[in-house]
Amino acid sequence: MSKDIKGSVMVVGGGIAGIQSALDLANSGFLVHMVEKSAAIGGVMSALDKTFPTNDCAM
């Protein structure tokens, strides 16, 4: 464990898990860098029509 602790986190992947992680970290006072290989975040969930079991729109 390093002595000089940085107050920042890198989140790799901008799907639903990455987005949630990034939001929670940012709300807890940490700077977040998000890295995503495609041109937009959203991941697979953005391509789903609706979601189980509430039939909510995934968007």
Binding site: M1, S2, K3, D4, I5, K6, G7, S8, V9, M10, V11, V12, G13, G15, I16, A17, G18, I19, Q20, S21, A22, D24, L25, A26, N27, S28, G29, F30, L31, H33, V35, K37, S38, A39, A40, I41, G42, G43, V44, M45, S46, A47, L48, D49, K50, T51, F52, P53, T54, N55, D56, C57, M59
Partner: protein, 936 residues
Amino acid sequence: MESIEGDAGNFTVTVRERPRYVDMDKCIACGICAERCPRKVKDEYNQGLAKRKAIYVQYPQAVPLKYVIDADHCIYFKKKGRCRACEKYCPADAIDFTQKEKIHKIQVGSVVLSTGFKSFDPSGYDVFGYGSLPNVITSMEFERILSASGPFQGHLQRPSDDKPPQKIAWLQCVGSRDLHAGCHEYCSSVCCMYAIKEAVIAKEHAGGDLDTAIFFMDMRTPGKEFDKYYDRARDEVGVRFIRSRVHSIELAGHGSDDLRIIYMSEDGKLKKEIFNLVVLSTGLEISEDVRKLAQDLGIELDLHGFAKTSSFTPVATSRPGVFACGAFTGPKDIPQSVMEASAASSACAVLLADSRNTLTQEKTYPSEDPIIYEEPRIGVFVCHCGINIGGVVDVPAVRDYAETLPNVVYVADNMFTCSQDTQGLIRDAVKENRLNRVVVAACTPRTHEPLFQETIRDGGLNPYLFEFANIRDQDAWVHQKEPEKATEKAKDLVRMSVAKAALLEPIEPLLLGNRHEAMVVGGGAAGMIAALDLADQGLKTFIVEQKGKLGGNAKYVRKTWKGEDGRAFLADLIGRVQGHKQIEVLLDTKISHVSGFVGNFTTTVTTGSAEQELEHGIIILAVGAKPLKPDEYLYGQNERVMRWHELEELFEKEPERLEQAEAVAFIQCVGSREPERPYCSKFCCTSSLQQAIDFKTRKPDLNIYILYRDIRTYGQREELYRKARELGVIFIRYSLDKKPVVEETSVDGKDKLKITVKDHILGIPLELHVDYLNLATAIIARGEEELAKMLKVPLNEDGFFLEAHMKLRPVDFATDGIFVCGLAHYPKPLEESIVQAKAAAARAASVLIKESVEVEPTVSVVDQEKCIGCGLCEASCPFGAIHLVKVPGRGYRAENISALCKGCGICAAACPQKAIDMKHFRDRQIHAMIEAGGRR
């Protein structure tokens, strides 16, 4: 991402940014470039069912909404310098072919890997004809076909001839639970759910006549509310469920695009049925890229390519300081991914707690423009919500109608009003049209009001100058067969909202001091993990436990399904909790009263006869659950009938019993998945299999029977199922209408149990003679109605706490500052309880670290001129939020205590002088709504 150097707390990460060839600051996402681009490419986002251009945005709601050039297909890059159409036509001068790859070195304290999954590609799997038969498609392709923003605008049609199919089949476990080369042994955990959903939605789109059939081996719907959806799909919507493994698919005949499915029914007969479209429920897998990345970063993977994690530290990878969440650690659904994501953020926060707030800055808003005090200028935004609203309500008609209403100066309709780009449109519209009130007609204010309030705040308006019209949840969705009446209703609702909007007034925020202590209710594994994650961040935490010791149900977990030692873990956990300076454990303690609100709770607890008050900022509910004591199968009447861990404890204490036994049986779903308790207890299958494997390994000639309805070893737990079968454990399926019958008997003078059950494969009743029977009984809620009432949080029909949103807010409640985790939320295995506990800690910490909390300022206001100091309001308020104060020279007058006020308005209704009014729900605002609504 290229590499990570350094240690936990201080990493240097190298990332390679690929060029977009579009200047992000200049691009205005007008789309002219894509219109002019001559090069058409298969659109991966739409699973290749549609085309996009070589310059494109992934999807219309993409974030960031900026175009990008696909250099692999762009003519400029393929044919050295040709074309440049986009550059020529771009009005913003945003195209930049000179962009080069950039290497960034970024210093961070920790890393979260949420690299996700890729769908299994069934091309190499020739039995199902994917790739050669056009009407055999994957589930992801079907998602796009159903989607309103998809290639067919949500019209249900099949690829070969664009005709609407009349019969659709889903084939489960494609690439999963399959030992063939190229396939995966594990269960992908999500396919049963999405297949049922797709069948239900397809029937909804097609409107009645569509026949849907799902071919499956075990129906695995173990999550919260999942079985209810399954039951409804089967019994009410009429989706057919066929238990079988499909043998092959072939063309139905010469010149036909239809497909014949040849399958083996459960009783062993070969059957055939013709369908118009076949959807392959493809599983989840880890892509080669991610495997390589993990290798480069030094992250250990399991043999399936998922990140190796322990059940006790489910988001920690093999490399300290690097965490993982989502499908990277195993196939899982959205709620579980969201929980893991929060859990990973908690793990980071614990690691980096000392450097919190060193690199961040607070968000600032533009100052509120005084135009809000002028004459009302209302903007109305009507949402299509894909086809959710637009498919029923005539959205353009509602928009045009809104334009005719008084004070409305701007109207628009949007595909998804909640999308990032539309937020920009709303902000711009507010500025350009000097709007000072905004109405959105869309889903429901309960989920989306905060988003739009934030948007108009960014646009310089006070957030309370916003009003919602609920035309989805309470209109389009519930009047699907009456589009005209639904449109009328939408118009009425918009008119009512506009009437109220005209009378809205700005409300100043209410900031209150915040306590930094936490109270965790329940000292089981979930409660202790949550407490430790908070305490390790320096936050003082109380654990309130009813019983005399810590541990809860975790003490029954001898081993996790991965084989880790549960007891050693629990002992270590209890030791850490008891030794922690920031944790105060209150045993034998009950909660008798809770008052206050987020940031400022006061809880009265009693330990024996002693009473004390705890002051804290948040509450985490981890009260656990308990196994059902059944009144069937001779439980409680014959000592050879046991439940859950009783049998393995017996064998541990008296090993000779196992030695002497000839046969044991397990009955699954005892009291679960029945009309009385229509839910699955989720980890009983895994638990029984673990025990069966353990017994069989210790005594190979022991006969073990598992009587089950569906084996639900989801995810990598499928390994256990395979292993148990390999070891010779016998699985016998029974159905709810023909439950096994257990009787006492004796064989050769030895006491035995006789179990009679109808075997579905042989079709005849079997008689089993066993020495012991172990029942996997339902996990039931403890009956926390009183606690729920005290905290004003809801329980579901089964008595488990009901979270704010099943997928996106799995540990929160609608009431701020209260969180849930562990079995109190729903039955789940230990590792999932731990994930949820860490998630609850993450959400709680984000509240606790704040200096002040903002509370809803929609409270009551007293007109002291009208008030006569009678005190009826004080007597009527259920929250103690209004009281009389002495006003010099005028006697007593009522005064509101904003922090306690929930804005219910009972005082306003009770005031004989009509001296009390509610902010944001003022008398005249409600009158205006009534008056506008009644108009014909």
